[in-house]
Symmetry: C2
């Protein structure tokens, strides 16, 4: 049995970084495995947005719109909302007894995010514990294949540690170890050239951006600050326009030619930016059109998510019941 679980924190609309890094992969593998669960992780999103829950709530539907717009299909995936599966909270509580503070604090992904957010020991305990919550999400559905980037590998390792610790101690294969489905796509930088595209850095192009908005963002894109006159030789390294062309332009040969021309001199930023606008618009236009259609029936999306959550609950309940049996909690 091959079961896939993926998901996103609903803290805003999804951007083309999500699309290139994760959503395209999910679309390409859908239907290839026995089951696929896609979780909108509202509870996890609250772990560092506790004082701004309205943003999280609004984003739940936006993320669902993005999912369906890029071509993820309800008949091939179970979409659900994390908080509507309370068994995940119970599992998290039990798993918290199998992980110690030192191990959690040394998790490289948590450490990097703590540093990025400048938390120090002011880190909300819920945020610190999100790897445990993720372990609950994965194991509840006995998911064994997790599409991730390599920055998420410590999460897989933490999950498997919990799985092994419980299975070994209770001498029973209740939980299932998982492995990463690594995507070999490089992370897309923000339009300002920063390594990470994110809402908070205000450097993202969203799947729902219209053509005018895309144009504006591409025209402001970071290229080569020393490439001042067209005839100057330009630098490809760190040049966001070329990074995006690499990711989106279907004509790889033409992109290589353009790179050479740019490096030699004589190719202006405006020319390559205009090409990128066309390329992006071609990729995003069908997604945008589907999104517009779907937006007319937001209520239906919520119904779909609730039904998915009900189904997800039945699976998570079964796993919880198995665990409660070995934990002697089956009163």
């Amino acid at each position: 049995m091959n079961i896939v679980l993926t998901g996103d924190r609903p803290t805003g609309k999804l951007h083309i970084g999500h699309y290139v890094g994760s959503l395209k992969k999910r679309v390409s593998i859908q239907g290839k495995y026995d089951k696929s669960f896609i979780m909108i992780a509202d509870t996890q999103a609250l772990s560092d947005n506790a004082l701004n829950p309205e943003k999280v709530r609004d984003s739940v539907i936006e993320v669902m719109l993005d999912y369906l717009s890029v071509g993820l299909k309800p008949e091939l995936n179970t979409f659900f909302i994390q908080s509507l599966v309370p068994e995940l909270a119970e599992l998290t509580m039990y798993y918290m007894n199998f992980v110690n503070l030192g191990r959690l604090s040394r998790n490289p992904t948590v450490k990097a995010e703590m540093k990025q957010k400048g938390y120090g020991d002011q880190i909300p305990v819920g945020f610190l514990c999100y790897p445990i919550s993720q372990a609950a999400d994965i194991t509840a559905f006995k998911a064994n294949l997790i599409p991730v980037g390599d920055d998420q590998l410590p999460m897989i390792e933490q999950t498997n540690e919990i799985v092994r610790r419980i299975n070994n101690h209770f001498n029973k294969n209740i939980l299932v170890e998982c492995k990463p489905l690594l995507s070999n796509v490089k992370r897309l930088p923000g339009i300002d050239g920063k390594a990470k595209m994110s809402k908070s850095l205000n450097n993202a192009i969203y799947l729902s951006d219209n053509r005018e908005c895309i144009s504006r963002k591409v025209m402001s894109m970071y290229t080569d600050p020393n490439h001042i006159r067209i005839e100057d030789p330009g630098n490809i390294e760190g040049n966001v326009v070329f990074k995006y062309l690499d990711a989106f332009d279907p004509n790889k040969d033409e992109v290589e030619k353009l790179k050479k021309h740019y490096e030699k001199g004589g190719l202006g930023d405006v020319t390559i930016k205009k090409r990128l606008i066309e390329v992006l618009d071609q990729e995003l236009n069908p997604i945008r059109l589907r999104r517009q259609q779907l937006e007319e029936n937001k209520d239906e999306l919520l119904i779909m998510l609730k039904e998915g959550s009900e189904y997800a609950r039945t699976i998570a309940s079964d796993t919880l019941a198995e665990l409660k049996k070995v934990f002697y909690l089956n009163y």
Copy 2:
């Protein structure tokens, strides 16, 4: 509305330290307030007993037997099992976002217990978080009166911090602050003279101990190591027999006379120990008899606990629903 919540971790039978420090108080106040909840905290017990859940399970019924034996009445209290109210796990997860790691690590009660158990950063995350879990237990039932010893005051403070943080931010009095119902009883030392009576230190007298067992434990009790011959002057300070007589002997005048006699010399340890055996047996005999009767119908106790838990769920669900509304999780 005055609502009382108390409870115990089921990690063994209850001992006379629990009786003097807490159970007698609970019996004396039962029926005096609008509602009273008594929780058997199996989930919390697992936070440092994850690898030994069978002990926790067995202790659930033992603790319930102890409760009813000392005179806590089902018609005046709702008895329930923590893990049978999964809303408490959900509340804990949400509260974890409102408490930071620094605050939690500085909790004096947690610090003391961490030191006692020698955890360091090997502390299970579930154990570290138990003050948050207690805040969930208290607030779920909108309990405003918590019978505690003064070592538990930091827990009350942590709970009220969460209450204020949520109520203030969402500008609505959803949660209720609580205050301690302090008992002015001094903690009963173990029979070996150590400050804490506990199962793990093997220095406890249990409510369920029979007369022979009590005699043996009292006869081995720590008195004054320098009081070798009967005619020697003896020391009252740190003398466990006199501490217990202070706690249990109804004849205070006689105890004062015995103390003076002991200090002067001429009163043997065996004499005061025999008195203590009588005094303890008189107090514990009716409790033991009730326990024997109740033990014949353990199944009924479990039914009672399940019914109590069902009722507790209805209350906890209401509180959770109110919170989910302001957290925008009312899909």
